[in-house]
Symmetry: D2
């Protein structure tokens, strides 16, 4: 349950900017896709959350870039639970090149909200079980 989930990324040519590396804005997009992969792998796919009446909303992100990533680099994003609170939780992300070098490390915090617009909700069992025990990457 607490294993790191790996989300493979194919770098798009259009994500490369004039400096020859992936533009920084795309990392949050990669993390968003990696989060979906994470919850699906942990048994709580997004549609199941929505059907159960819950959605998640990004409220905070922190990213450290250590190296640029180029087109056709072999990239994957590792995802792990960093923290579980009452109505919020945090995920850790590592962008890894060639299965080893960490080129970028990120942490994002989400709050659980009701899909009916009524605001924050305590983390329901479906999401709590998917998150499992925290195992921060950094």
């Amino acid at each position: 349950m607490s294993d790191v989930v790996i989300h493979p990324v194919t770098v798009r040519y259009m994500e490369i900017d004039a400096q020859g590396v992936v533009f920084n804005g795309w990392y949050l997009t990669w993390f968003d896709e990696a989060m979906a992969t994470f919850f699906t792998a942990r048994g709580a796919p997004y549609h199941a959350m929505i059907e159960a009446g819950y959605d998640v909303q990004l409220v905070h992100s922190e990213i450290d870039w250590k190296a640029g990533v180029r087109w056709q680099d072999a990239i994957e994003v590792a995802v792990s639970t960093a923290r579980v609170g009452r109505t919020s939780f945090a995920l850790d992300f590592e962008v890894r090149r060639d299965g080893a070098e960490v080129t970028c490390a990120g942490r994002t915090v989400y709050v659980v909200i009701a899909t009916d617009g009524s605001g924050k909700r305590p983390i329901p069992p479906l999401i709590a079980e998917a998150l499992g025990e925290p195992a921060p990457l950094h």
Copy 2:
């Protein structure tokens, strides 16, 4: 009513790809924004369409690129009505650099649909008046 509408574009650094010019995929985004400016300028802003129960859906596009566009080039998109049918209409777009050189020419075709999901609709007066007499750019 049949004047060309001008939509200014600020080229984003991240729209530049590894070839040093705006990646082709962004042109449809620019045309989409230019369409919104066009309908607002012609008295049919998008929210008014939606409130009246109508939406528009892209069904066809054709684009010709003549030159690449670079970061901080002075760019605008000219928009004009190309054709008005019963349930569909076409708009013409020109990407102009320095108010003169046409670097890209596009035409897009939209159908009018009902917002209640019931499908195509004849073009309502709100949209027909905004389109005015066709004045194709190419």
Copy 3:
């Protein structure tokens, strides 16, 4: 040599717009990625073209949308050679859902240019062999 090449696409959540379907601008991005997959599958990966002194430039695109695509739909892009000229060639694309329904059909035209900035070039054997005999999809 003339088989259709299949490029799988994972629809990104952020590609979905307020209408609940993939925003039209992303299709050219998908086609760009599918083109890279096509040339790699046909033995002419992009880096080999560049090393040989050739690059390709998009000069024309035509797209027909038949249906919207939603998040987590099973999508692939089929690519085939549509036409081979002296300095230009065309590729056909089909966006297919569940391996069957064609939701979108596109054709793009590219010119071959020299990487040294000296302009158009006749299609070199590397690219001609990758393109093979034209087999238009539409």
Copy 4:
């Protein structure tokens, strides 16, 4: 010199995701454009940096989202110098709606590098003067 620089943003329809608000990944794009506006307003436009042999590289970002932003909301990004170090500096960003409500607050850290690929550089006078005295927004 230490005044906040205001960068206006036109929310693009395609930046809205299926939740009806701007997708989180676009904020780093907005900050990137706002940074360019900031340095231009402070007398160090990007091309002048490049011509002087300097470039800047994002190494860290932190973002707090307080409210979602919708299409056609009146949005601007305020930029101010947060910190000036020896080879790095930080900028503060606030996304403001209707000139008042802060919907999102961000801080990004950049290092100054040489354009010749030789790595980090002490902040040159051109950039130091543009940054001025730190005046953090948060």
